[in-house]
């Protein structure tokens, strides 16, 4: 009998696929169930954010930053606004800084909840997904209370905030912290320490430290590889140096440091730390006016600035060049998900098709941030 011909199978995962977290397309080359090559194809959600920004005044860009990584709009706004404020060189009231930190950390919790929930969904566990979204809903309600919007806030303005927070917000946030602490444990018991889930994620998609650092990977993805690097500690922006919190890294409790499980669990740990920061900020928030430093016209002198922040997904930076006019000359966003995604080919080779889904989920990418 003539020898049977075998060949590698090329399969398109996406752009319409339930677990590519948006409109990412992965061209997988498969040898049976084993992945030999992964080629991400981007651009299905490209909205010309950077070019658009050149045609608008500085404050007008803020709503566009919301739409970049739509799961953590507050952090996007914060990074952009900090960059503009650096250009302007204005002094920000203490109260504004505190509220910004509270919002950014609440947003971190919301973003991590989506990451954990959808990761469970990728693994086939649908129930934790809804539990996480239920809790995220509480965070969104808090946001709704301060700025009326639930997803795209336009809350952090250059020099201040659109609205001040109310005493009711503070009590509600304290209630939320009290409610949420045990809920983290509940989700951990349901998903993180589930035997099948650990089997699915431990020792899958090993990302060695040197590869991670060389590729510019950041955020929980980098910390999952055991690198203790958090911009809130390394290069404190806003008033993060006033708070006491730990930088969580993958511990290798299950699997090896650098695998999917460790990348995942960093997020669960970080939510706890965010609660600590919020508690401290709520206790020491000073009185003041949030509008006092908002300039009438944002017209920085010619120059450039770069501000990098620790967004929930990693290092988010804005590089702004000003030519002295009302519009920025150039805005460049250093997108977290884009850099994190760049290692996918390297670490998913040799794994199975089901593992690619888990590896992709462990990066917690958002296509709005990748394509901009």
């Amino acid at each position: 009998m003539a020898e049977l011909r075998t060949e590698e199978l090329t399969i398109n995962m996406g752009p319409q696929h339930p677990s590519t977290h948006g409109v990412l397309r992965l061209v997988l080359t498969l040898n049976g169930e084993i992945v030999t090559n992964v080629k991400p194809v981007l651009g299905y959600l490209h909205r010309c954010f950077e070019k658009h920004a050149e045609a608008m005044t500085y404050p007008q860009v803020i709503p566009y930053t919301d739409r970049m990584d739509y799961l953590n709009s507050m952090s996007n706004e914060l990074a952009y606004v900090l960059a503009v404020e650096k250009l302007l060189g204005i002094e920000i009231p203490e109260r504004v800084e505190y509220i910004r930190v509270i919002m950014a950390e609440l947003q971190r919790i919301a973003s991590h909840l989506v990451a954990i929930g959808t990761y469970g969904n990728d693994a086939g566990a649908f129930t934790p997904f809804l539990y996480c979204f239920m809790d995220r809903e509480k965070v969104l309600e808090l946001f709704e209370m301060v700025c009326g919007a639930r997803l795209l806030y336009n809350y952090i303005w250059v020099g201040g905030l659109s609205h001040d927070i109310t005493p009711e917000f503070i009590t509600k946030t304290k209630e939320f912290i009290k409610y949420f602490r045990p809920r983290i444990k509940q989700v951990n018991n349901l998903l993180s320490y589930n035997k099948i889930f650990i089997e699915r994620t431990a020792n899958i998609g090993m990302l060695p430290q040197d590869v991670a650092v060389n590729a510019g990977v950041s955020g929980p993805t980098l910390r999952g590889s055991g690198v203790k690097y958090d911009l809130r500690k390394e290069d404190p922006y806003s008033i993060y140096n006033k708070f006491d919190f730990d930088v969580c890294v993958g511990t290798g409790e299950y699997g090896t440091v650098g695998d999917c499980w460790n990348r995942y669990i960093v997020r669960a740990y970080e939510m706890e730390q965010s609660l600590r920061i919020i508690e401290q900020a709520l206790d020491s928030i000073p009185e003041g006016d949030v509008h006092s430093a908002v300039p009438k016209r944002v017209k920085p002198v010619a120059g450039e600035s770069y501000v990098r922040t620790e967004s929930p997904k990693g290092e988010l930076g804005y590089y702004i060049i000003s030519d002295g006019s009302l519009n920025p000359y150039r805005v460049k966003a250093r997108s977290t998900s884009f850099c994190n995604l760049s290692v996918i080919n390297q670490i998913s080779r040799g794994h199975m098709i089901a593992d690619v889904v888990m590896i992709l989920g462990s990066f917690d990418i958002v296509l709005g941030c990748i394509d901009r």
């Binding site: 696929h17 339930p18 169930e33 566990a125 239920m134 099948i196 699915r200 098709i353």
Partner: protein, 351 residues
């Protein structure tokens, strides 16, 4: 034991046409309401409300869904293998349904009491694999093909532990007839095979073996019906919908229907083999509860409880990976089943 229909109508053709009627009616109603139950139970587990727009508690939901699916256009992939593509859903459904022929619903009602009933059941439900493979191949879709190939590997592997754990009971009972399995386990809950079956008190030593066998059988049949955590055929996060991907309208409904029909069929097998079939748990203490009508109640109650466990597992556990699934089968389930078989053999010889 005579079938009640044979008693009523005599041994003629009409009887054999009538016997499947209540079974078909039951399977249809069960499948419709199992879908609703699954949605309601999952909603309850996830703090949601679930379907509640159609009638009270969404009672009409699945019926209306089915009506909707019937009205849908059948969208056929242009490069399909026409014959296989159209045949597959019917094969899957028929195979799932034919298993019901040997389920003893009551001491006076069983489709047909074959003396090789259990063997027949395993044989006939395996035909469903052919349908799934056909669907995977004929869709001309890479995801479907993956789903189809996975299913074949999975079901063929899991048939071995299923059969091996069932044989434990066959050895003790000395029969393959489904009705006899149920008859032997008369006399209350402690005479069920999960508690060692009827016999002298020395049977206590085999209770652990029987419990392990029952759990093995339940898990292996779960894998055979492709339910989470073993639903690699569908694996919605990897293969989108697996073999169902190109099917629409009523053809899809057939697959769906078959899955739910199979859920109860395998529960029926576990019930008959280990949980006393239609026997009342009170045995002779309350003879009234062991009358034929109540027997149907007991059988359904036990079967539906197992279906509930299936649904419960589905909404709790993540999915396993294909190689882990195989490892579990070949490295854990089969050796454990073989050891059980060996120990039961020793017990039969020496006790």
């Amino acid at each position: 034991m005579e079938n009640i229909f044979t008693q009523w109508f005599g041994d003629n053709l009409l009887t054999y046409i009538l016997i499947p009627v209540p079974i078909i009616a039951y399977v249809s109603v069960f499948a419709l309401y199992a879908v609703l139950a699954e949605r309601k139970i999952s909603a309850w587990m996830q703090n949601r409300i679930g379907p509640n727009r159609t009638d009270k508690f969404g009672l009409l939901q699945t019926i209306l869904d089915a009506v909707k699916l019937m009205q849908k256009e059948l969208i056929l992939p242009s490069r399909r293998d026409n014959l296989y593509f159209r045949m597959a859903p019917y094969i899957v459904f028929t195979a799932a349904f034919m298993g019901y022929a040997v389920l003893p619903f009551s001491s006076v009602f069983i489709g047909v009491d074959l003396n090789l009933g259990l063997f027949y059941f395993f044989a006939i439900t395996s035909i469903g694999v052919v349908g799934v493979l056909m669907a995977g191949w004929a869709s001309n879709n890479k995801y479907s093909l993956f789903g189809g190939m996975r299913t074949v590997a999975q079901i063929v592997s899991y048939e071995i532990p299923t059969a091996l754990s069932a044989i434990v009971v066959v050895m003790l009972a000395g029969t393959l007839s489904m009705q006899k399995f149920a008859l032997i386990q008369s006399g209350g809950i402690f005479n069920w095979y999960i508690f060692g079956g009827p016999g002298s008190p020395i049977k206590i030593i085999i209770i652990p073996i029987m419990v392990v066998s029952a759990v093995l059988l339940f898990l292996s049949t779960l894998a055979e019906t492709n339910r989470t955590p073993f639903d690699l055929t569908e694996a919605d996060s990897e293969l989108v919908a697996g073999v169902h991907i190109e099917y629409s309208g009523m053809m899809f409904a057939m697959f769906f229907f078959a899955e739910y029909a199979q859920m109860f069929a395998v529960s029926g097998i576990v019930t008959t083999l280990f949980l006393g079939g239609w026997q009342s748990p009170f045995g002779e203490l309350i003879p009234f509860l062991n009358t034929p009508v109540f027997q149907v109640f007991w059988f359904l109650a036990k079967g539906l409880s197992l279906v509930f466990v299936q649904i419960w597992l589905r909404w709790t556990l993540p999915r396993v990976r294909i190689d882990q699934l195989m490892t579990m089968c070949w490295k854990f389930f089969i050796p454990i089943a073989l050891v059980n078989l060996f120990l039961i053999g020793l017990y039969i010889i020496f006790a």
